[in-house]
Symmetry: C2
Subunit: 449 residues, 2 copies
């Protein structure tokens, strides 16, 4: 049993925020192979975006400490054991990774990053071949997230720390018991914005214990491997974003999102055929499909991941789209899935379950509120943090930070999203993409995590 408070006061020298290249979202491997096979060598720039500028990240984390932890990750390579595990996985069918890609992973080292402090924020980016740069996404985030909370905790007393961890443990346990009581299952999607490596590990151990079979798996490859859980993950917005960015002309750009699906289908079996329709708005995605693609996707693909827009409405629209493509109610109810993954917490998961059970298989990708809910856990939450001008409660709440592709072979990279506040890209580039893709069905919602 890890004594978390003690470990904060007396960290081990080996306590790097990310200790293995396996400590990354599993979709980085599935997408990595997709990129390696079809789009290797495209120069992509990924950039840190703190969506909440009231969180003074660079006043909390010393720049040199951040650099040291990121450099440590650059010193890592995958071990023979890791490659054996990836080669031998059979949960999505045998040999899902081909030997060429495994050989490339065997020599992978993460590319150089660029780090500068600007006021109370960091400018952090990486520009390199897409198939390598892509691995930084969740790793950068996990490093920043852990170092942020660690450095805050250095300003706390032993008793505050004990209470902080006591309350967070209590809170997590309560959430899991509530999910269990409601028969609601979930997958852990919380690597990127976790409180810490050890805390994610602990949260998964607790979930395994409390939830019986209701913990479907984890997106953290290292933890799937070490805690014998199902590795979960399919694909993310960066695929259509980059491929659209390098496509030339409006028509090619509108088609790029479907090119992703075609190449994905060539590589992976049914378990990974989950579409993510909201990159440029779900409505145009389903509406613009050429020819009988809609029919094909509705039949062959397992479902969608719902990452923006009103979850209930988006799920209902998806069910209607399946029906419009002549999918039987029975098939929808028993075989098609809708993965909710937009800033979920327990209440939403339970309400989706109540609303959609018997209509479609609803599953949940539960992230930050699973691996990092310390909101209100500081015993003196109203006090100002020493050296900062904000309170403990303000700095300890979960906040939205992402690493996004911003440039591909010199072209701007854009996400529109169903949620206007989740759009990324320059104002000009966003306007240009709205012209191409339209604005149908997009809404304005708060972004929590």
């Amino acid at each position: 049993m890890t004594d978390f408070a003690e470990r904060v006061l007396n960290p081990k020298t080996s306590d790097f925020a990310v200790r293995s290249l396996m400590d990354v979202d599993f979709y980085k491997f599935t997408m990595g192979q997709f990129i390696f096979n079809n789009y290797a060598g495209i120069r992509v720039k990924f950039k840190l975006i703190n969506r909440d500028p009231t969180i003074p990240v660079a006043d909390v984390i010393p720049e040199e400490e951040l650099r040291e932890h990121l450099n440590y990750v650059r010193s890592l390579t995958l071990r023979r054991t890791d490659l054996s595990f990836l080669r031998g996985m059979d949960v999505y069918g045998k040999n899902m990774f081909n030997e060429e890609y495994l050989a490339a992973l065997g020599t992978l080292q993460l590319p150089e990053f660029d780090l500068k402090k600007r006021g109370d924020q960091f400018e952090l980016s990486v520009e390199a071949a897409w198939e390598e740069a892509t691995f930084w996404e969740t790793i950068m985030l996990a490093v920043i997230s852990e170092l942020y909370y660690r450095n805050l905790m250095k300003r706390m007393t032993e008793y505050e720390l004990r209470i902080l961890y006591g309350r967070a443990t209590d809170k997590l346990y309560g959430k899991l018991k509530l999910l269990k009581a409601n028969g609601t299952s979930f997958s852990d999607f919380g690597q990127r914005r976790r409180h810490s490596f050890l805390w994610q590990q602990f949260a998964l151990e607790m979930a395994t214990d409390v939830m019986d079979g209701l913990l479907a798996g984890t997106s953290n490859t290292w933890m799937a491997f070490n805690q014998d859980l199902m590795p979960i993950g399919t694909n993310a917005h960066e695929l259509p974003m980059v491929i659209t960015a390098i496509a030339e002309g409006d028509e090619a750009k509108r088609k790029a999102q479907y090119e992703v699906l075609a190449h994905w289908e060539e590589l992976y079996g049914e378990g990974l055929l989950v579409m993510l329709p909201d990159t440029y708005g779900s409505e145009q995605f389903f509406h613009n499909m050429p020819g009988d693609l809609g029919n094909h996707l509705a039949r062959k693909w397992r479902g969608q991941r719902q990452d923006s827009g009103d979850p209930g409405e988006e799920c209902r629209k998806f069910i209607n789209w399946l029906k419009a493509n002549n999918i039987d109610d029975n098939v929808i109810i028993n075989q098609k899935i809708n993965i909710f993954s937009d800033g979920l917490d327990v209440d939403q998961m339970i309400s989706y379950k109540n609303e959609f059970s018997g209509k479609i298989i609803g599953t949940n990708g539960w992230g930050t509120k699973f691996t990092n809910d310390f909101n209100g856990c500081h015993p003196n939450g109203g006090d100002t943090v020493p050296g900062l001008s904000v309170t403990w409660d303000q700095v300890f709440r979960t906040f939205s930070v992402v690493v996004k592709a911003v440039e591909a072979n010199g072209n701007p990279v854009v996400k529109l999203s169903n949620n206007i506040n989740k759009a990324t890209g320059s104002a000009d580039a966003i306007a240009e993409y709205v012209r191409i893709f339209g604005h149908a069905g997009r809404v304005e919602q708060p972004v929590e995590v």
Copy 2:
């Protein structure tokens, strides 16, 4: 860092001697598949044999504790992660385990054992389908070995324990430095008679640190997996022993040892083609080969494991046999191997290196004296152990205990060995086998471990 003395005084409830079915010699998997493919269902009885009856095992280990630890192993199954690792291993070529066998491993639970206390010794045996019973061998031994030392250490004071571990650490470090200085490499073969699970893990960590590339790997599958080492192991005497036992008639019995080689070659690539000639004496093994088998083996197989008889002499005989089969000196020097594995310690390994370098690739399987050399480490070694009639030095020396196949489908199972003291089987059965195989080249040597 594990504080070994502290851990003896305050063991964890999870401190079972064997915690995973992967915590087993790797050759159990390679042999397991061989058996599964060719000889599934043969009823084999394995039995514990303490070659040193002055070691009062059953006066030291409470019977109920031994039963509890063995039962714990029976509750274990391989995890999805373990099977993925085995499927994805490529160090001996890809897909070395076929899907039928992996599926069987996925449901493997170790069969029931039979345990009785008889005086100061245990009668411990298992009788079941060969492909299942075989897994007990090194696991039973590791359980007995660890519980033996644990129970002895319960009679020691904190200061005796600290000194015991201090000296053993010192001794191991000195051995490793000496090997390193002499450029002598080895593989760890010490799972079965280790001091403890944690101590083997520690010894491998130390060897990785001290020896640079000179640690060739470990036969412990769990540790190969978790410490990213090369899993080492090919085959053992039980294969020819059982297959000879069920063969009918002298001629069939003499041929059975070559049947093993033929089936082994069908299954495995070059890295695993290492013959073990001494089951019924190496001399008759090389002499009785039918037709041009000798030529074929000398060309295709990588080498031999030398497990009994005078090591220098057996190795020289092997080189001469290769030459007699027209293998070029250059090939022998650079491609053929002789694995020494008979009760090795540092001095032998260095002297074999000096004798054979430039003649053949000599490698070492270093077992008990690597993972369990506590000889002379007790600070009051001359004192009598409380409750026993022997001294600390007497009980703390490494001793020879094995688990051997003794019956196959009702037939006696026999090993003759090059060393008359390593023969196993009833006196009648041994005499019968000597009549069939002859006695050529067999010698009488002490058995240390």
